[in-house]
């Protein structure tokens, strides 16, 4: 059985239990964040929650680690550009 999440509006299917990072990599997506200073592309690096390179926005909450957060059916996942504040007024 597969479920799916929305990644910047695109449907990404995954196997229950997979992390968002695993689901995105399986769909052929290698990067989902740009850095704050130089706008460099980043994806998954350490893979175990240590490096914070794989940050993205999940259901409106920025700075979530794609390598740790389990994918859920219907999740709204967005790439994270720059400072990572999403819609938060900070």
């Amino acid at each position: 059985m597969t479920e799916s999440l929305s990644f910047d509006g695109t449907v990404v299917t995954f196997r229950p239990g997979q992390t968002i990072g695993a689901a995105l990599l399986a769909s052929g997506t290698r990067s989902w964040r740009t850095t704050r200073r130089n706008g460099r592309l980043r994806g998954l690096f350490c893979g175990i929650g240590v490096c914070f390179d794989c940050l993205l926005t999940v259901d409106g909450i920025p700075d979530q680690r794609a390598c740790l957060v389990e994918a859920r059916d219907g999740m709204q996942v967005r790439t994270q550009q720059g400072v990572g504040r999403a819609g938060l007024a900070v």
């Binding site: 196997r15 229950p16 239990g17 997979q18 992390t19 990072g21 695993a22 990599l25 399986a26 290698r30 990067s31 850095t35 704050r36 200073r37 130089n38 460099r40 592309l41 980043r42 994806g43 998954l44 690096f45 350490c46 893979g47 175990i48 929650g49 240590v50 490096c51 914070f52 390179d53 940050l55 700075d63 390598c67 740790l68 389990e70």
Partner: protein, 470 residues
């Protein structure tokens, strides 16, 4: 309620990998009220990973050898007497007169648990050494690649170069093959001869040797080149990520021979230079430390695995990187020592069988560290544009400016001037390489303590802090 000030646990174990599982089950076997906390969604740690929903690793899929999965199955079967708290990311531990307060973040809430004694089993993560292009998408930590392959059945690409040093590179390459990927090459910086310095040690740990032989056989069967004295000195890529790796022969100190540079096509480069123990929590608690043979900062422990903080024990990679089997032995000793301290077990000497096993596995670890050192010449493959700090985007040139133009001679001041190590990861990735680089540039001794202290072990929201623990 267990864990409250009026009803503290007997033992809190932080980390549910091999060491923590062994400690928690041993303490519970002695009648201790035990809680086991881990940030992940299930027990097993980084070592025992399994596909979600399966019963756990029985046989290693790469080598078909009945692996340590049986040990895990035994520990998991014993867990029913332990209060297991997964998805609990412990961010702070404080000592108080009656024991310890363990504060964990659960989603965005904060939960405090109290316990009379503590066993720290925080594990380790891959040690990284920066190289040109290591911040391109497609360059991943060797352990991260293994986690993806084993737990999620996913490869981040099809053509993989595995590089760095140490025996762990072999199972990582094996996991790629098992998932149908192509391992273009395994580049090992060492020459392997270090293992032959003490054959008696290898004879005392035949399981380790059989594992290595089995993995080597798998690589040979799939025609994977195993290149000794070779390193990835650059990852090359485009807007989408890595497209190639530049390999070079390394001399005895790890300096690349420029004439030997050659490029191989790949879309994944997985690197690991041994492991860095995760010492945020022990350091925050004030546990005394020492430098281990591989240059890692580790917790100093007694023969009973007790730290310098009374009632606080440590086990596994945090006391010296040595692998899962050693972690289980240390965890059992730590759990037993906690039970003895609580009066739940007689104060006899620890079982001789465990002490013997710990001794031979530590000797194996010492041989491994001697055979696979962090090569001192690694800064030779950096160029001035190489990223040092991935979070704050600090380059080697920025670090050199602080050292050369501003005359800084210690990594902490470099950090304050450049922000190297001040980003999201708090220097967990670049802190040790920065300390090593500054030491190399200034001809001063490398101090593993210089970039290790992090009072808050996990990022947490101001809201959780303001609300306080429940």
């Amino acid at each position: 309620m267990p864990g409250s000030p009026s009803d503290p646990y007997d033992v809190a174990v932080v980390g549910a990998g091999p060491a923590g599982l062994a400690a928690a089950t041993t303490a519970a076997d002695h009648g201790c009220a035990t809680v086991l906390l881990d940030g992940a969604g299930g027990p097993g740690g980084q070592y025992w990973r399994s596909a979600p929903g399966t019963a756990g690793p029985g046989t290693d899929p790469t080598t078909d050898r009945a692996g340590p999965g049986r040990v895990l199955a035994g520990l998991l079967a014993d867990l029913d007497r332990v209060d297991v708290r997964t998805r609990h990311e412990v961010w702070s531990i404080q000592a108080e007169p009656a024991g310890f307060v363990v504060r964990a973040q659960v989603d965005v809430a904060e939960i405090a648990s109290r316990a009379r004694t503590l066993v720290l089993a925080p594990g380790a993560h891959d040690r990284q050494l920066p190289f040109p292009g290591w911040d391109l998408p497609g360059v991943v930590a060797a352990g991260g690649l293994q986690a993806l392959a084993k737990e999620h059945g996913v490869l981040p690409g099809r053509r993989v170069v595995v590089a760095g040093t140490g025996p762990f590179l072999l199972p990582v390459a094996g996991a790629v093959i098992a998932r149908g990927g192509t391992v273009v090459a395994v580049a090992e910086a060492g020459d392997g001869t270090g293992w032959l310095r003490d054959p008696a040690v290898l004879m005392g740990t035949p399981g380790r040797v059989r594992d290595a032989v089995a993995y080597a056989a798998v690589l040979a069967r799939h025609g994977v080149p195993f290149l000794r004295r070779t390193g990835v000195v650059e990852a090359v890529g485009d807007d989408c990520g890595v497209t190639a790796a530049v390999l070079a022969r390394l001399d005895g100190a790890g300096r690349p021979d420029g004439g030997s540079r050659h490029t191989v096509d790949c879309d994944v480069v997985a690197t690991g230079w041994g492991f860095t123990p995760r010492l945020d929590l022990p350091l925050g608690l004030g546990c005394a430390t020492r430098a281990d043979l591989d240059g890692s900062l580790v917790v100093a422990v007694t023969a009973r695995q007790e730290t310098s903080v009374p009632g606080c024990f440590a086990a596994g990679e945090a006391t010296g990187v040595g692998g899962a089997e050693l972690a289980v032995v240390e965890g059992r000793l730590a759990g037993l020592a906690a039970a003895i301290r609580l009066g739940n077990a007689p104060s006899d000497p620890p079982p001789a069988r465990l002490l013997r096993r710990r001794r031979s596995l530590r000797r194996f670890a010492a041989l491994m560290h001697a055979a696979h050192p962090v090569p001192p010449g690694w800064p030779a493959w950096l160029d001035e544009r190489t990223t040092m700090c991935r979070c704050e985007e600090v380059s080697v040139a920025d670090v050199d400016e602080a050292v050369t133009d501003l005359g800084v001679t210690d990594p902490r001041t470099v950090k304050l001037l450049t922000r190297c190590g001040m980003g999201w990861c708090q220097g967990r990735i670049c802190g040790e390489p920065l300390a090593r680089l500054v030491a190399a540039r200034t001809s001063t001794p490398y101090d593993p303590m210089s970039m290790a202290t992090r009072p808050v072990a996990v990022p947490l929201t101001l809201g959780a802090l303001a609300t306080g623990p429940s």
